[in-house]
C-alpha cells in the first residue's frame, strides 16, 4: 500500500499511515476550514487498509486540539477501525494527551464509550 505522510500546519494535523512499517498516527492540530477535503484521502486509505489489515493495528492519536467538525471525522475513522475488530483482527487506540489537558483525555474517553475498540491513554511529556 502507498504511504500517506502529510506534514502538519497550524490548522491541519500530521498524518502518517504506513502499513509496511506498521505506523498509524494523527498528531497536532485539526481545525481545517473544509474537513472533508483534508480527510478524504485519509478515509479512502483506511477504507482500503481495512480490507486487508495487519494482525495488529496500533493507531496513535496525539492531538493537541481539534474543532467540532474534526471530532466527527475522528469518530468516522474509529468506526472504520471498529470494522477491523469485527473481522477478528486486533486494533488498539493509543490516545495521547498532556496531563494538564483534561479535556483531551475526556474526549478520548467519550470515543472509547462509543466504539468497541480498546483504548490506552498515554501521557505526553513535552
Amino acid at each position: 500500500m502507498e504511504v500517506i505522510n502529510i506534514k502538519g500546519t497550524d490548522d491541519t494535523p500530521n498524518v502518517i499511515l504506513d502499513k509496511e512499517n506498521a505506523q498509524f498516527e494523527i498528531s497536532g492540530r485539526s481545525l481545517p476550514e473544509d474537513v472533508n477535503m483534508f480527510f478524504e484521502p485519509i478515509m479512502d486509505w483506511i477504507d482500503e487498509y481495512a480490507e486487508d489489515p495487519l494482525d495488529k493495528t496500533v493507531f496513535n492519536f496525539k492531538l493537541e486540539y481539534f474543532n467540532t467538525a474534526s471530532s466527527k471525522v475522528i469518530l468516522d475513522i474509529l468506526l472504520k477501525l471498529e470494522e477491523i475488530v469485527e473481522n477478528d483482527k486486533d486494533v488498539v487506540i493509543k490516545w495521547h494527551y498532556h496531563e494538564d489537558e483534561e479535556d483531551m483525555l475526556e474526549a478520548g474517553e467519550e470515543y472509547a464509550d462509543i466504539v468497541s475498540i480498546p483504548f490506552e491513554y498515554v501521557i505526553l511529556d513535552d
Partner: protein, 190 residues
Amino acid sequence: MDELNENKSHSFLDFAYQMYKSMKTNEINLVYEGEVTQEITKTFTSLTERSLSKNEESNMVQRKVFHVMVECLQNISKHADSLDGEEEKRGIVMVSHGKESYNIITGNVIKNEKVPALKESLEMVNNLSKEELGQLYRKQMREGTISDKGGAGLGLIDIAKKTGSKLHYQFKELNDQVSFFILTSTVKRT
C-alpha cells in the same frame, strides 16, 4: 487640507479616542469587523492565545477561549449572510475579560427565514444539562453528516458543553430580509 476634511479627520480622531476609552472601560481585548476567513480565524486565535499566556491564564481557560473562538469564527465563515447579497462572509468579533470570566461576542447578518430554526437550536441547547449536552453531542456525531460547508452541526452544543454557561443571544431585525445575530459565550476563569 480644506475645512471639511479637517473636520472629518478631527471627528475621526475623536472617534478613535472614544473607542479606545470605551474598550478600556469595558476591558475589551480585541475588536474586529470585516471578512471572516480561515486566515482571520488562525490569526485571532493565535493572537488571543499569546495574550492569554502573557496574562498567565490557566491552561484550561486558555483552551476553552481558543475553542469557543474557533467555533464562533468558523460559524461565521460558513453561515453568515450579507446585507446586499454579497458572497463575502463578514462579522464582528469581540473578546473582553473581567475578573470572573471571558466573553467572546460575535455578530453577523442572517436571513430572517433562518432565524426561527437557529433560535430553536439555541433554546434547545440552553435547556439541556451538561450530561444531556454530552449525549446530544455523541448522537449528532454518530448520526449527523458533514455538510457541504464543512460543518457538523456540533458547534453550539460544544460551546455550551465546554463553557458550562448559557448562550446569550439576540436577533435585531435590520429589514424584512435580514437580521443581525449576536452571540455571547462566557468562559469562567475559575
